[in-house]
């Protein structure tokens, strides 16, 4: 039953090699087309292939015609009857405010926050005389301060954006105006302009390439900022524009009309046509230069601006950054709601109290006559609002702004961290969002990209085996370092790439002696058999390879004296040990993922015909001639290479007789022109010639890991963080890297797609066979998927992932159903429509459960979208905090999806960084980000929040206790000014500093004991339990603060016989007690006492007394008699020893139990942190000693098992380009010019112009 479903998609199994890119496209296209189809298509009619007709394309651009774009038909309504051209200017605007709009807009933004709105409402309540229990300033002053601080922060942010916009908008570019090119600013560029770009210029807008200095108007661009790929891409002008638009004059007369698709964010698609001289020419993405790219290797080019500014693909892509919130944020909000509810309940209770009190006492007390004829219930109602105002400080007004300040500080610390600064690239770490720091301390899952993230994306030619002998080891078999570990000196070779490192001197001497024929053949092959393009830059050869592996191999050959110099469509010129020779290329049998090999057939200068082939060992060994030598030794070497996680290729050759070649060549030509299934036919022909090969040797390339990757992964694993690698790479490569970065180990059982699918299917069948009711009751199947003991790992490809998760099939299926004629949905959904949502969800849950049982998960061949899907699956079903780290544009999706996105500002451009929350240069900084900064931030934030809630409860609830003795009349227990300033001046600084600076153990210990990270993952330091503890602690302290003075002095009198039991003295004593208690409490909570903390605590107390004595002074009362009414209260109260004894006792009772409980708790149930903290000194000394003694030993890569060692480029090479000769064939040049190679073209072009 379910089997059928699995097969229902039509294919048997997903192809492991193919990235399911189509899914990305189908997603929206299917949606769009299905909507369109419905009204038009008669049911059952075969659908014509969907094609965008030119007339449908709404975007019209006319070259060199600025007024055209302001025609009424291109106007769109902006506001009422104001209209504006729909074509954006090229100026970009990322800022939010200008001088005029700052205040209203910023206030509007701020009052969108519930908390601020709440305080505004309070302010309004306070103005109503019947309700007002606190003067307006008690709320207004803190509110103004809070709004002010936030506004200043926003202002600074916006100024930075203004500055950046200005910088970009003012970049210079040459635009064709009035018939000639004039320098102009980017912001002045308009759609339809013809621009002139030079080498290394950034492209200012999305531009249609018209012509360039290179042959055929080829133009190389670096698209790193766009898609993260560093290898150069070539773009090509249309033949017609290439021929007719080379000169300024021609360009000025250019008046074509471009019709194309509307601006969109699809980087991989562009459709349009060009109407010029009554001819239509199709345009596609190959003709487009996109904003954000950089011109490379091309001296200059001309283009027509199609999309400008906000319409460009890169800007459309930047989109809205999803607003991310931390778990703590959510929790905090819920707690604030809880406080609201509590507040309303308490106020309601006290209001009822007031009603009864008034009935019993108040109404009879003649002295309380207030001239109002309210009945007691109405008075209760007013009292309710009065208490809402009085107790409003339970909801801490400065909470949000303090949290923001702390986070800002944490972010600064991340930015400032020298140990996350990468000196080589001069890149410091950067916290791009300042609101997520504490979440870094709660990460449970890390999703990592591979290329550029784990690896440097630098391929290094490390070792090779030639004719059975292995070269490249820096040590002998006995481990003795050869040649004192110095790398080979390449000074003998003029054309060597200086950056190339090789440790084995014997190979060099072998090559230079020219004795060993195999060795020369080996390097000759490397220099000939490839699809690399060469460019001559200031006398230096620059290779452009389709894959870094190939580049590494050709570079290796170059250094060993076999320098690839140039190629034309059918020749290759190399410098063979200082002897230039040109080989005629008869055929290029390009790489593809099925063949896993590439070959080249060459005609030597002496007329011999030879085939060189390189490829994966598996495919090569099948095709070796029986009398090929060194098979076993090479095989053994390959095993060794594989164990060292090197990527290997086998090299072999075959001599072909002229007759044999002629015969094959004919078949080849036939296949080339065959109309149907040309690829298959070609593959078959290739297969024939690639046989009976003779093995030369094998290369081993290291996909160099970034520094410290295995250590980091091991450390993070110890912190119970699970790391999933999601990569577009092939299964083998990914697996290989998994081993080399110690994510996979030999004791793990690796499960692949089939296996997983089967297991899930069984689970599903089980579930279906269970009775429905039982199914519902039992929430989750509890038994594990892997019953075998031992560790498990999952390696799964994108195709399988879709298969397993039922992703997309549903849609495709539905669409197919519709095309087949809109069958009604089958009656029994269980059978024919199995992919209902519940089923899908259960399946996904199962998959996530299974994956989470594994130690490591590697998803390869996944699309950016799938990456994001995997992340959101885990987020959704595991409710875990996720982090994605990547460096390329293909990681943007997952970076945006995860709770925290980290971008590596590595080689692959800035796209990932731009959409990330944190950015730094090296993967290994991740451990510091999480284990040090994340942990600290989390601990600090939790401490801060716990204390902050406590401090406000302790402060506010004193009113509550007092109300029992004041007729529930919403009388306050402190002076108004104290209430106003409490959160601002008296209690905020020490806790802010704790939030900023506190550290329980220092960074080294944090890194040494990854287990310290665990409380964060469990959210153990701040949750509802902690909240209620804070609440009860606050209740306890407020109780003490009120009732100790109550018992101590309110029924007695002072030393001078005057009763100190007046209201103002009580207010002074409670306030002083509170100040002492909260400041000493934060001192207890501070585990890292710097002089600043000391200063803050003492300062807060001092400020309190300073302000109190000022406010209670005679002078200020004389000036504002009705505002400052506590004249003399402080001085009178605080000279009574009895009151000081009361204060001391209250503070003592408030703090001593806390110390006692903390001590007992730490003694009986010590946490890991406590233990580390306790032995802090010891560990620190140990670590210092360790550091002094030895450097950490290099990571041991001891592993034995044999793994597939196949690695090769995963995109097709430049073979088509080479074969078609487009880049190489000379453009029509003046007669007589000698045929030349590509590297000579620029000069000639220069002469032409």
């Amino acid at each position: 039953m379910s089997r059928r479903r699995v097969n229902s998609s039509g294919s048997l199994h997903p192809d492991d090699e193919v990235m399911p890119y189509s899914d990305d496209e189908t997603d929206d296209e299917l949606d769009a087309s299905s909507e369109e189809e419905e009204p038009e298509a008669p049911p059952g009619a075969p659908q014509p292939p969907v094609e965008v007709k030119p007339s449908e394309m709404g975007w019209k651009v006319k070259a060199n015609d600025r007024p055209y774009h302001h025609l009424p038909e291109f106007q769109k309504k902006v506001f009422l009857c104001f209209k504006k051209s729909r074509y954006s200017g090229n100026a970009i605007k990322t800022y939010k405010y200008n001088v005029l709009t700052f205040i209203p807009l910023n206030l509007y933004e701020q009052f969108k926050r519930v908390a601020n709105l709440y305080f505004l409402a309070l302010l309004i309540l306070q103005i109503i005389p019947d309700i007002s229990t606190l003067p307006w300033y008690t709320t207004l002053i803190p509110l103004v301060v809070v709004l002010g601080v936030t506004a200043i922060k926003d202002l600074v942010d916006d100024l930075a954006r203004h500055k950046m916009d200005k910088e970009i908008n003012n970049r210079k570019c040459e635009v064709l105006l009035d018939g000639r090119f004039q320098e102009s600013k980017w912001r002045d560029i308009q759609v339809g302009d013809v621009v002139h770009l030079r080498k290394n210029d950034f492209i200012p807008a999305d531009i249609l390439l018209l012509s360039s200095s290179d042959p055929n108007s080829l133009c190389y661009v670096e698209t790193a900022e766009l898609d993260g790929e560093t290898n150069l891409k070539f773009k090509m002008g249309l033949r017609v524009t290439d021929e007719r638009l080379q000169h300024e004059r021609q360009l000025a007369e250019f008046n074509a009309l471009i019709e194309c698709e509307e601006p969109n964010n699809r980087l991989d698609k562009f459709v349009g046509t060009m109407l010029w001289d009554r001819e239509r020419y199709p345009l596609d993405l190959d003709n487009m230069l996109l904003r954000g790219c950089k011109i490379r290797n091309t001296e200059h080019c001309h283009g027509l601006v199609i999309f400008a500014g906000a319409d460009t693909k890169i800007m459309k892509n930047s989109g809205k950054t999803r607003f991310k919130r931390t778990k703590i944020d959510e929790l905090m909000n819920y707690m604030v709601y809880t406080i609201f509810v509590l507040l309303i309940l308490v106020a309601a209770g006290l209001a009822i109290g007031h009603t009864f009190w008034y009935e019993e006492i108040g109404s009879k007390a003649w002295y309380l006559f207030d001239g109002k004829n309210h009945n007691s219930s109405y008075r209760g109602f007013l009292s309710f609002w009065g208490y809402i105002i009085v107790l409003n400080t339970m909801v801490p007004i400065s909470l949000y702004v303090s949290v923001e300040v702390i986070r800002l500080g944490q972010s600064k610390f991340i930015n400032w961290d020298l140990q996350m600064y990468y000196a080589e690239k001069d890149t410091p770490a950067k916290a791009r969002t300042t609101t997520l720091n504490e979440q870094l301390g709660q990460i449970e899952y890390i999703f990592s990209d591979k290329t550029g993230t784990l690896t440097q994306n630098i391929m290094q030619f490390k070792k090779c085996t030639i004719a059975g002998r292995t070269y490249g080891d820096p040590t002998t078999a006995e481990g003795v370092t050869l040649d004192r570990g110095r790398p080979v000196d390449w000074s003998w070779n003029q054309q060597a790439d200086k950056k190339f490192d090789f440790m084995d001197h014997s190979l060099v001497s072998c090559v230079r002696s020219k004795k060993d024929k195999d060795v020369s053949e080996f390097f000759k092959l490397l220099s000939l058999c490839h699809t690399v393009m060469v460019d001559n830059k200031d006398g230096e050869l620059v290779y452009q390879a389709a894959s870094p592996d190939e580049g590494a191999l050709v570079t290796a050959a170059r250094n060993f004296g076999y320098v690839f110099l140039s190629r034309t469509q059918d020749t290759i010129t190399i410098n063979e040990m200082d002897q230039e020779s040109t080989y005629e290329m008869l055929a290029l049998l390009d790489f593809n993922s099925d063949r896993k090999r590439m070959s080249i057939i060459l005609k030597f200068p002496d007329g011999r015909i030879r085939l060189y082939c390189k490829g994966a060992d598996t495919v090569i060994y099948e095709r070796l001639s029986p009398d090929s030598r060194h098979k076993e030794t090479t095989q053994a070497a390959l095993d060794i290479f594989a164990n060292a996680t090197l990527r290997t290729l086998c090299l072999c050759y075959k001599d072909i007789s002229a007759a044999e070649y002629d015969a094959w060549s004919r078949k080849h030509k036939e296949a080339q022109v065959s109309m149907s299934e040309r690829d298959v036919a070609l593959d078959r022909v290739y297969e024939q010639i690639e046989s009976n090969l003779l093995l030369i040797g094998a290369t081993a390339i290291e996909d160099k890991l970034q520094d410290g990757v295995p250590e980091t992964i091991a450390k993070l694993a110890k912190a119970d963080i699970k790391i999933w690698v999601l990569t577009g790479d092939k299964k083998e490569t990914a697996e290989n890297i998994g081993y080399s970065c110690s994510l996979l180990t030999d004791d793990m059982a690796i499960h692949y797609g089939e296996d997983v699918n089967e297991k899930l299917r069984i689970r599903q069948t089980h579930r279906r066979n269970e009775p429905q009711s039982l199914n519902r009751r039992r929430k989750r199947p509890t038994e594990p998927f892997f019953n075998m003991p031992g560790k498990n790992a999952l390696v799964i490809t994108g195709g399988w992932l879709n298969e397993i998760l039922y992703e997309k099939k549903k849609k495709r299926r539905r669409l197919r159903l519709r095309r087949l004629g809109r069958r009604p949905p089958p009656a029994i959904p269980q059978d024919s429509q199995p992919m209902d949502d519940l089923e899908k969800e259960l399946r996904q849950i199962d998959f996530v459960d299974m994956a989470c049982e594994c130690e490591a998960v590697i998803c390869c061949r996944v699309t950016p979208k799938q990456k994001a899907n995997v992340v959101s699956l885990v987020k959704k079903y595991k409710k875990a905090v996720t982090l994605s780290i990547g460096d390329g544009a293909n990681d943007v999706n997952m970076i945006k999806t995860a709770d925290i996105g980290v971008g590596l500002s590595g080689q692959e451009g800035m796209q990932a960084v731009m959409s990330s929350d944190y950015a730094f240069a090296q993967f290994r900084f991740l451990q510091r980000l999480l284990l040090v900064h994340g942990r600290w931030s989390y601990i600090r934030m939790c401490k801060f929040l716990r204390y902050f809630f406590f401090k406000n409860f302790a402060f506010t609830l004193v009113h509550f206790w007092y109300s029992f003795f004041s007729g529930y009349s919403s009388q306050i227990a402190y002076e108004n000014w104290f209430i106003t300033l409490y959160n601002l001046c008296y209690s905020s600084l020490p806790v802010l500093l704790v939030g900023l600076l506190d550290q329980d153990v220092n960074d080294k210990l944090s890194l040494k004991f990854p287990k310290l990270y665990l409380p964060g993952q469990k959210g153990a330091l701040f949750n509802y339990r902690n909240f209620f503890i804070s609440l009860f602690h606050g209740i306890f302290v407020s109780l003490i603060i009120f009732f100790i003075p109550y018992g101590a002095f309110l029924q007695t009198m002072g030393q001078d016989g005057e009763a100190p039991s007046d209201y103002q003295s009580l207010a002074v004593v409670t306030a002083s007690t509170l100040i002492f208690t909260v400041n000493l409490q934060i001192s207890l909570d501070t585990s890292y006492w710097t002089f600043v903390n000391c200063f803050a605590v003492l300062g807060s107390i001092a400020i309190y007394f300073g302000i109190v004595f000022d406010i209670h002074s005679a002078g200020i009362h004389v000036i504002f008699p009705s505002v400052f009414t506590f004249t003399g209260a402080a001085s009178n109260a605080l000279r009574q020893p009895y009151l000081w004894l009361t204060i001391i006792l209250s503070v003592g009772i408030s703090l001593l139990p806390v110390i006692c409980i903390q001590f007992l708790h730490k003694t009986i149930w010590p946490s890991v942190g406590d233990k580390v903290h306790r032995n802090r000194k010891k560990y620190e000394m140990e670590m210092e000693e360790e550091e002094r003694k030895t450097k950490p030993p290099t990571f041991d890569r001891g592993r034995r098992s044999r793994r597939s060692a196949y690695a090769f480029s995963h995109s097709r090479g430049y073979a088509d380009l080479i074969a078609s000769g487009r880049s190489i064939r000379r453009r029509p040049t003046p007669v007589g010019a000698p045929p030349g190679s590509i590297r000579e073209a620029p000069q000639r072009e220069a002469e032409n112009i």
């Binding site: 006559f369 600076l997 007695t1052 009705s1122 001593l1152």
Partner: protein, 338 residues
């Protein structure tokens, strides 16, 4: 060299602050600090507690309720009359010398001077002698702001409800009444008398009150509060100041007089005393109580055992907890492991 410096423009500063390496003290609640700390705090607290308790024991207090709730009370006859002047006499004995200086308080119970509406019903500007506010009292004083369109001075509920019973104390010596001199000077806070409340600088004082009316409950105007001492009138009348300093709780005492003069400077000798009360202030309507209190003071003020006992209890608990912690600590003594 120069070039290198230029290249690393983005390098963060290497300071103790930016690298979070500020020199710091990382205290720990270790057994070595906590347990001895608790013991010493406990001992100190017990010491304070003993001192407070002993001192408190030595203080004499005499309380006489004269509300007249019971029929047997001499003031019963006055209790039901409201507004009408009524005299009553309370007799009492003192067994042994009541050491001086003796303070004479009146006390009210179930009287909510701290009721919010009541406690804000006052015009501080007026009470600083600002004549503008004589003619135009603050709205907070409502309903004791204006009386038939004439402003009330002093306005507000607090002033209006000023306590107006008066007392005379006599010692009965051989059947003769010997008046105990009562000192009514300096019974209010110095700051209240000198800075917070001021009369308008108009002489004679009554002229300042032209065009105003007295609070409805007052028998005489503010400038006539003390008929004997003209300087004790207006807003700086000591009894008025004492009343205006509102109490924190519904049961409160306010200083009425000091007994510091003549034969009684060293205290009230044993004997019979008679307190003659002019009973004006109605409290029974709201279940209030009135009393007079005689008390002497020590360095810690009046008699109150609460604080002493609280110190003793907390001190003992500290010592007890230190023992508990010691036991727990011994039992769970941390094994030295990672």
């Amino acid at each position: 060299m120069v070039k290198e410096v230029k290249e690393l423009v983005n390098r963060p500063d290497n300071t103790a602050y930016t690298q979070q390496r500020l020199p710091a003290w990382q205290p720990m609640l270790s057994a070595g600090i906590v347990i001895p700390g608790f013991v010493s705090i406990g001992l100190v607290f017990i010491g304070i507690g003993v001192a407070l308790f002993v001192t408190s024991q030595s203080i004499q207090v005499l309380e006489i309720d004269y509300t007249g709730v019971e029929q047997s009370s001499p003031c019963f006859k006055c209790s039901d009359q409201t507004g009408k002047k009524c005299d009553c006499v309370m007799n009492f004995d003192i067994d042994s010398l009541f050491k001086g200086p003796v303070f004479f308080y009146y006390g009210l119970s179930n009287y909510f001077q701290n009721q919010r509406k009541y406690s804000v019903s006052i015009d501080y500007n007026q009470l600083t002698g600002d004549l503008d506010y004589f003619t135009n009292p603050d709205d907070a004083c409502f309903p004791f702001q204006n009386d038939r369109n004439k402003p009330i001075v002093p306005c507000g509920a607090i002033a209006n409800s000023m306590f107006n019973d008066t007392f005379q104390l006599f010692q009965l010596v051989n059947g003769q009444k010997k008046e105990v001199p009562l000192d009514g000077k300096g019974i209010a806070w110095w700051t209240d008398y000198n800075t917070k409340y001021r009369n308008p600088s108009v002489t004679p004082l009554r002229n300042a009150f032209n065009g105003t009316v007295k609070p409805p409950s007052w028998p005489q105007a503010a400038y006539e509060l003390d008929t004997e001492d003209t300087s004790n009138n207006g807003f700086i009348n000591q009894d008025f100041l004492v009343w205006m300093r509102t109490a924190a709780l519904p049961d409160f005492r306010k200083l009425y007089r000091r007994i510091t003069e003549g034969d009684y400077a060293s205290g009230l000798p044993a004997g019979n005393y008679s307190l003659e009360i002019v009973y004006n202030y109605p409290v029974l309507s709201f279940d209030g109580r009135k009393k007079v209190v005689f008390s002497n003071v020590s360095w810690m003020g009046g008699k109150n055992e609460f604080l002493g006992i609280a110190y003793l209890v907390i001190g003992s608990l500290c010592v007890l907890m230190s023992i508990v912690m010691l036991i727990v600590y011994a039992k769970f003594k941390f094994p030295e492991e990672d």
